[in-house]
């Protein structure tokens, strides 16, 4: 196998709020500030007192055993669920009362643990749907096929192919998304999310079902995406080589509560984490 380079990770420095972000992002508003976030489902407290700050170009990791509440955190950040408690600031804006669409317009895009593509539609249309709000013409212009329709659709087509080429998928543009192999579906979800032009990309187990070389390629691509689009990435992942390899700040969740935060080195040597998580689930 080809030699694997190690990825450059930024040095974490403290903010006045006690949170840590990469040094290079210090001057900029953090893209995400969640404080005391929590949600109850009936009697079950799925997430409680969740605090996290993510820097403008940080790659952050969210880990924890199954059922810890990781996906629920994503659902809270994207307003699939409205939080019972706490506050989420995106890019300095309070998102209280907002819905999924409004949060996306603020710059949050995501993928899903259980892939949610538009299966019957082509790969290209999936990506174009990510660009929906950037494609500007009204229904009358569309029906009458005015020049603005052709122009906007052509731009969208070219942009879609360009984004697909990140994962070398441009030749699959006409294929129905549902007929893609599993790994390609996960990559398409990332492309669709990127098409919304986000500032914060949330990836829910992006490497699930991928083999080690696919996973390594994905790591490279996540770093490449961060570097080309200058965005922050927060990912949930069970593959520790990926998390420890590219994540700068890592947050560990167990039973809905944050039990540790810090760099890969901090997390790996934290006895609480080892007991709750790594000790039981160490794998290659």
């Amino acid at each position: 196998m080809n030699e694997k380079k190690t990825f450059q990770r930024g040095r974490l420095v403290p903010l006045p709020t006690n949170a840590f972000i990469p040094e290079r992002d210090l001057e900029k508003t953090p893209i995400l500030e969640a404080s005391h976030l929590g949600i109850d489902f009936g009697g079950l407290t799925a997430v409680d007192d969740f605090n996290l700050t993510i820097g403008r170009t940080e790659i952050a990791g969210l880990i924890g055993p199954n059922g810890a509440g990781k996906t629920t955190v994503f659902n809270l950040l994207t307003k699939v669920y409205q939080p019972t408690r706490g506050m989420v600031m995106i890019d300095g804006y309070d998102t209280a009362g907002m819905n999924t669409v409004q949060v996306n317009k603020l710059g949050v895009a995501r993928t899903f643990q259980n892939i949610r593509l538009f299966n019957a539609l082509s790969v290209e249309d999936n990506v174009k749907l990510g660009m929906h709000n950037a494609i500007k013409y009204n229904m009358a212009a569309g029906v009458l096929r005015l020049p603005v329709y052709w122009k906007q659709e052509r731009i969208a087509h070219e942009r879609a192919l360009e984004l697909l080429s990140i994962f070398d998928m441009q030749d699959l543009a006409d294929v129905p998304a549902g007929s893609l192999p599993y790994g390609a579906q996960r990559r398409l979800e990332i492309v669709r999310a990127l098409a919304t032009n986000p500032s914060l990309l949330l990836l829910d187990e992006p490497a699930a079902g991928m083999n080690p070389s696919e996973t390594y390629e994905l790591m490279e691509n996540i770093v490449k995406i961060r570097d080309t689009f200058h965005i922050a990435v927060m990912l949930i992942e069970h593959d520790m080589s990926l998390v420890m390899g590219i994540c700068e700040g890592i947050c560990v969740l167990n039973f809905g509560k944050v039990i540790a935060k810090g760099t890969a080195e901090d997390i790996q040597s934290n006895p609480v984490v080892i007991e709750a998580y790594l000790g039981k689930k160490k794998e290659g």
Binding site: Y137, V143, L180
Partner: protein, 356 residues
């Protein structure tokens, strides 16, 4: 990179225009020469009206993925709105005098008013119904369809003006509906729906059917597009209603029973949800069959039920599935014969379970 040749858009539009004109020419010539009798001319008009009803319902069921059960209600609104309007205009006198040219603006206006009125009703019903999740839409639209019919049956004047004539029915509506008018309306309906569906707005409507949570996650205002699709569906049902009124020349509320909604739904389901061609074929075939079964009256519903059951067994996705025929695509296939595209292997984990 692929080497497949594409037919440019203007040529595609040209091909479809020529085909449509050819179909019209053939049918019009057959009518003029008497090959198609008066009776079958009437059947053709009914087919056209049913095609508009089916392709419009298909927007809400096939494309949007909802299950409205009150399409006949929107048809009734359009029929009565158009009928009342036409009676109030000089249309009747103009048609009697043979001044077709002068009648055209009134006809266009009547169709627009019928469509818009039905659209307004669609908006009023759609906004609350589509915000709810699950099967509420089916129940609310079912209720709407019945309420419209009951109101039309029991109200014969509004504020002292004799409007709808209650159960006795609205009579002496100018008979505007000819084969040519219906053909034009069918062609325009299909054209407009096609243009909408192949635009960003149509994509957004389809994305809701495919996965609403994902659609919202990429910033698509799903409530807006649901209501838009629903209103569009109602508008064309209203136009079909107006053509219906102008064909029969009189209206009775009992023509818009729940069973009429089901009949239209059967056409869409048989044709294949989401396939406009399927809707067209199924509407045509079922109209002819129900014409042939006229003598057995409402027992033809038994036949529909049987057809549905057989379809569910042998072709669960309908006649055409979600496939939409395109002459240009067929030609492209012929041009590119032999240059096979690589087909990716099918997904390993078919449908991911939904637990989020």
């Amino acid at each position: 990179m692929k080497q497949t040749k594409r037919i440019p858009m203007p040529v595609r539009y040209g091909i479809n225009l020529v085909l449509t004109l050819a179909l019209w020419g053939v049918l019009a010539a057959m009518i003029a020469s008497g090959v198609i009798t008066n009776y079958w001319n009437g059947v053709l008009i009914t087919i056209g009206i049913n095609v508009i009803l089916a392709v419009s319902l298909n927007i809400a069921t096939g494309y949007l993925g909802q299950l409205p059960l009150g399409h006949a209600g929107f048809m009734a609104v359009g029929a009565y709105a158009g009928g009342i309007f036409m009676k109030a205009t000089p249309l009747g006198a103009l048609l009697k005098a043979g001044e077709t040219g002068a009648a055209v603006p009134w006809i266009i206006l009547a169709l627009l008013i019928a469509g818009l009125t039905a659209g307004v009703f669609g908006l009023i019903i759609g906004i609350p119904a589509l915000r709810l999740k699950g099967d509420y839409l089916a129940i609310i639209t079912l209720g709407f369809g019945e309420i419209i019919r009951v109101v039309l049956t029991n109200v014969d004047s509004v504020l002292g003006f004799k409007f709808t004539y209650g159960a006795a029915g609205l009579k002496q509506i100018p008979k505007i509906t000819s084969f040519n008018l219906v053909f034009l309306c069918v062609a325009l309906t299909i054209l407009i729906i096609h243009m909408v569906m192949k635009s960003k707005h149509g994509r957004a409507i389809l994305s809701i059917r495919e996965n609403q949570i994902a659609a919202e996650s990429v910033g698509i205002n799903t409530t807006y597009y649901k209501v838009a699709a629903f209103v569009l569906s109602a508008v064309f049902a209203g136009v079909a209603g107006c053509l219906y009124a102008g064909y029969l020349g009189s209206l009775v509320p009992s023509s818009f029973k729940f069973m009429k909604s089901i009949e239209i739904l059967v056409m869409v389901v048989l044709g294949g949800m989401g396939s406009m061609l399927g809707s067209v074929i199924a509407a045509s075939v079922l109209t002819v069959i129900s014409e042939l079964l006229r003598s057995v009256g409402d027992y033809r519903m038994v036949f529909y039920a049987l057809l549905l059951v057989l379809m569910m067994i042998f072709r669960p996705k309908g006649l055409m599935g979600t496939y939409d025929f395109s002459m240009s695509r067929l030609l492209e296939k012929l041009i590119n014969r032999g240059k096979a595209k690589p087909v990716p292997s099918a997904a390993e984990g078919e449908e991911a379970q939904r637990d989020e």
